[in-house]
């Protein structure tokens, strides 16, 4: 099976869900409507033998402007990985359905995408930050993120903007 076979099968089954394909080199990807991603992945897992989900990641496109969630389901039957992209508006209310009930791998990957980008996943069983501390403010991997100067009274950067080292640095 090739990438074009998968694309044609998905376009036939979900005519409204599949928005088109992006012919980027060297790996192309398929654009999916945010409300249809759960059914598309369910169809891929049950009918097309895509047994595993390798990765869920987030991308920030400030130029579009959009936030994007990229899914990489993989198949050991067909020995391939397909890239599915879901574009969301770049606000604080970017929401998409979680696919944790289909693949348990999505649990921690979606937690990390929420932690780094602020994308909310509906029906996620454990929706909290994973890498940053629980009460961290801001979403670090967005392009317009500014590192805070202090966190709970502790200085965050190694050197402040004027070049002076922060006090209390380890000797």
């Amino acid at each position: 099976m090739t990438f074009d076979d998968i694309f044609s099968k998905l376009s036939v089954k979900f005519p409204k869900g599949v928005l088109g394909k992006e012919e980027t080199k060297p790996d192309a990807s398929i654009k999916i409507e945010p409300s249809a991603i759960h059914e598309v992945l369910k169809y891929m897992r049950d009918e097309l033998n895509f047994e595993t989900l390798h990765m869920v990641s987030g991308v920030d496109y400030p130029a579009l402007p959009a936030l994007c969630v990229v899914y990489h389901p993989g198949s050991y039957h067909h020995k391939m990985i397909v890239s599915l992209k879901v574009y969301l508006p770049r606000t604080d209310e970017a929401k998409v359905t979680s696919v944790t009930d289909l693949y348990k791998a999505a649990n921690w990957h979606e937690r990390e995408t929420y932690d780094m980008f602020g994308i909310q996943f509906l029906n996620h069983p454990d929706h909290r930050r994973i890498l940053c501390p629980e009460d961290w403010k801001g979403f670090p991997l967005r392009k317009d993120y500014v590192t805070p100067d202090y966190y709970n009274g502790m200085p965050v950067p190694l050197y402040f903007e004027d070049g002076a080292p922060t006090e209390g640095g380890a000797h």
Binding site: P26, M55, V59, S83, Y103, K104, A105, W108, P133
Partner: protein, 381 residues
């Protein structure tokens, strides 16, 4: 004095569940990992891992650095198998650029990758023995790993974080002296794997502690997205070096060891351990086929000082000692990458801990964590 009858005794002697914190500093967790364990006496009810203590924002740093300057950051992801990480990143950027690596550089890269695989599996063997209480295994594993680190110091100049696999080839060339030293090491190390099996793997105490524990079957592997030794220990013969060969792996012969449930259930901790020991033997086989025929030529393709790939995105994976390391790189034709996302194998390995440790004892929990072979630098990035 009235003695309480048995029914009253059950009410007055109330037992509760104990919330234990195997905190970030603990002698037998492989890095700064925190596991919140709820136990009922000695039996574990729940074991939830908490990560994030070693998060160094690698992905944000990569967006602000040139493609060449991301290389030292990539080394520090899985710091015990640093050459394999750099090779994965270099292969991803080379497929974005569309360049070909010279033959000499490919030979050197594969030899060094396999040597690094042996060093990483020796480290995993040593620390697993240490977790089980076998201090000798740790010392012997590290003695042999020191020899590999000495070879790497002659090749690249550093002992642990090399920055050796550059985009287009390697940093420096290798000399005939280094080739001789690798050959001497292979002659010394070949009988050692069997010795380590006699010392630890087939020892009845070790077998009793690791069989039927931490069973990962194929269905769990698929739904959690586990790769590498987990998949091979569960019985599936899948190795990226055979299925999607990169570099010159098409031209070498080696087997893919698979767990068979010899000592207990298929996919238990003992199966994963014997798969790692057998992988060391296969790595020796690969190096022996390549070490005598390194061709002449340049050790790096002509890439230029500034690397500017055309706009595009790539997801490329390589087989690292701990699983499949994936790099998803998006380039927007400037000198800095727009997004570098690293899919680390240990991230999902440690996520399975809660499912694996229902109803086992606390000592078996330690055995399970040791067999997952995690490195927190890769989990947290």
């Amino acid at each position: 004095m009235q003695m309480d009858s048995t029914e009253n005794l059950k009410e007055t002697l109330r037992t509760d569940e104990l919330l234990l914190n195997m905190g970030p500093q603990h002698p037998s967790t492989h890095g700064v990992l925190r596991v919140v364990v709820t136990t009922d006496g000695e039996i574990v009810k729940e074991a939830k891992p908490e990560i994030g203590y070693l998060h160094r924002c690698f992905e944000k740093h990569a967006e602000n650095s040139d493609y060449i300057a991301v290389s030292p950051y990539v080394d520090r992801l899985d710091y015990l198998a640093s050459m394999n990480n750099s090779m994965g990143y270099a292969i991803a950027v080379e497929s974005l650029l569309g360049i070909e690596v010279p033959r000499r550089a490919e030979y050197i890269r594969v030899i060094i990758s396999e040597l690094q695989r042996i060093a990483s599996h020796l480290m995993s063997y040593g620390t697993y023995g240490l977790d089980m209480g076998a201090f000798t295994a740790f010392m012997y594993g590290f003695r042999d790993r020191e020899m590999i680190l000495d070879i790497f110091e002659m090749i690249s100049g550093a002992r642990l974080l090399y920055n050796y696999m550059w985009i287009g080839g390697t940093y420096r060339d290798i000399t005939p002296e280094i080739v001789q030293k690798i050959k001497d090491f292979l002659v010394y190390f070949k009988p050692k794997v069997e010795e380590y099996n006699n010392l630890v793997t087939y020892n009845q105490i070790f077998v009793e502690r690791t069989r039927n524990i931490g069973v990962i079957d194929l269905k769990t592997c698929h739904t959690y997205g586990l790769t590498g030794v987990m998949l091979r220990g569960a019985g599936l013969k899948w190795d990226l070096r055979k299925e999607h060969p990169y570099s010159i792996y098409k031209e070498v012969e080696f087997d893919v060891p698979v767990g068979t449930g010899q000592m207990g259930t298929l996919g238990d901790c003992w199966d994963r351990h014997i798969v790692r020991m057998n992988e060391m033997i296969q790595s020796i086989r690969i190096i022996e086929q390549l070490i005598d025929g390194i061709p002449e030529g340049p050790h790096r393709a002509k890439v230029g000082k500034v690397i500017k790939p055309p706009a595009g995105e790539v997801y490329s994976r390589t087989e690292c000692p701990r699983g499949e390391l994936g790099f998803y790189i998006i380039s927007d034709s400037t000198g800095k990458p727009a997004r570098v996302r690293c899919k680390s194998p240990c991230f999902m390995n440690i996520a399975t801990l809660n499912d694996l440790s229902q109803g086992v004892m606390v000592a078996d929990l330690i055995a399970t964590i040791g067999s997952l072979d995690i490195v927190l630098g890769e989990v947290d990035r």
